[in-house]
Amino acid sequence: MDPIMREIWAVARKDLLIEARSKVVATQVLPFALVILILFGLALDADRSTLRSFTPGLFWVATLFAGILAIQRSVSVETSSAAFEALRLSGAPGWKLFAGKALAVALQLLAIEAVLGLGVVVLYRASFADPVLVVTAALAATVAIASAGSLYGVLAVGMGVRDTILPMLLLPVLAPVLVAATRAFDDGLGTTAVNGWSWCALLAFFAVIYGTVGALAYAVVIEDA
């Protein structure tokens, strides 16, 4: 493997290994995502046509809420036993640590999205009009959410109130991502006639912006984490 990728993958692999052994995301976050889907169904009176037309928005809101938990988990594995100190002592530059942490979050988010995707098909009767668009939009949005989330997660490290401040910091910043991802899914799931690919391009733009800012800012932030 390319030496740059090797260090990034080492960080990501560590997080995925912790998840494989602890199964926190699999046994707590994934079921929570399904609970959100079911709550939406109950709140919207199980009106099938309503649920179907709102599927793109509900899908992404559920992803964001479950994503907050995945991001908090990604941070908490570092704060316990001063693991973050050890990570910094590895000598890898900040942007590689950031890329590794974000990659692990992104892979876990994709797993959550895959389950949610199955959930909306079964529960909301959603259908994939354009599967390529859906997958591309999901990938771009996931990179944007994981990048912003990993940066904001570490910004909240070392404060007694991190559990409450993280959603307030992160969700408003991700609001444009929510809009663009929902619009792209509107086209991909065939619920509204919009040009999904232009929204997909916007998502890619957000992914690049948040990825770049995150990589640059991470080194500054972890100096005193």
Partner: protein, 284 residues
């Protein structure tokens, strides 16, 4: 920190201080009051309601008296953007130069900016009721993004309160503020990007240039609200600076207070040890 403690420490740091006002800010404050009174005169009496008569059908259209609210709404919105841009500049300077002065400026400007952003949303909402026939329009993207901007900077202010170490707070909140500021061009460009979904006019100034006094009132309103922004900024900055002094002086005062509580023999022993040590060059 209790207010009484802050006061004691500030008095210790700056004994001849009486409030955050000065001769210059009092003159500026008086100018703001006069300007505001003049703006209200312009808005309510000297300018005409917005009425346009279609020459063929004789149907009168326009914003009528609601246009008067724009003499406040538009300037307040401009000040909001200015305030958040100042915050962004402050955040860049904190990360670049590690400057306390700029950290204080960024925090002060964000606080005043959130106030003006809230006013922008409220005045816009009141104006929207007669013109758009709704208090809140989800389809209007500039309204949506301004709301998001408001939430992002409320988060920034909340985030600042979670940290006590001034150095760490300055650096981390600079990162948060800068990412929030990246949202400003998105807000500004949003009308172009999401054009087919918006109710907002492309440019308020272009539409109102038909009447000279209208345009004048708009620019005058901008000047008045920028003056109010500067006035608020100076005061907020001075409060922030005093808070900073209290935080820094606080530690020295607290150590001195604690030391004074020790019994005499221990205090003398500590003093003796220190005086017998070779001069380390560290200023106590």
């Amino acid at each position: 920190m209790p207010l009484a403690t802050v006061r004691t420490r500030v008095e210790a740091a700056a004994p001849d201080l009486h409030g955050t006002g000065s001769r210059a800010t009092r003159i500026l404050g008086a100018a703001c009051l006069v300007g505001m009174a003049t703006l209200l005169m312009l808005a309510f009496w000297l300018t005409n309601p917005d009425e346009r008569v279609d020459e063929e059908t004789n149907i009168v259209t326009g914003q009528f008296d609601a246009v008067r609210l724009l003499y406040v709404h538009f300037p307040v919105a401009i000040v909001t953007y200015t305030a958040f841009l100042v915050t962004a500049a402050g955040c860049i300077m904190v990360l670049w130069k590690n400057s306390t002065w700029w950290d204080n400026t960024a925090a002060a400007s964000a606080e005043v900016g959130v106030l003006f952003c809230g006013l922008t949303l409220v005045t816009g909402s009141i104006w929207g009721r007669p013109i758009w026939n709704t208090w809140w329009e989800w389809g209007d993207v500039r309204l949506m993004t301004t709301t998001i901007l408001f939430l992002i900077f409320v988060g920034y202010l909340a985030y600042r309160r979670t940290m006590t170490d001034p150095q760490i707070r300055a650096k981390r909140s600079a990162v948060v503020g800068l990412i929030g500021a990246i949202n400003i061009p998105i807000v500004y460009k949003s009308v172009e990007w999401w054009e087919n979904r918006t109710l907002h006019q492309q440019s308020t100034l272009a539409e109102l240039k038909v009447e000279d006094l209208t345009l004048f009132a708009m620019i005058f309103g901008m000047t008045v609200f920028l003056m109010i922004y500067v006035w608020l900024m100076v005061h907020r900055f001075r409060i922030g600076w005093l808070e900073h002094q209290a935080e820094t002086a606080g530690l020295a005062v607290a150590i001195a207070e604690r030391r004074a509580q020790a019994p005499d023999d221990i205090r003398n022993a500590v003093t003796d040890t220190r005086s017998s040590l070779p001069d380390s060059g560290v200023d106590t």
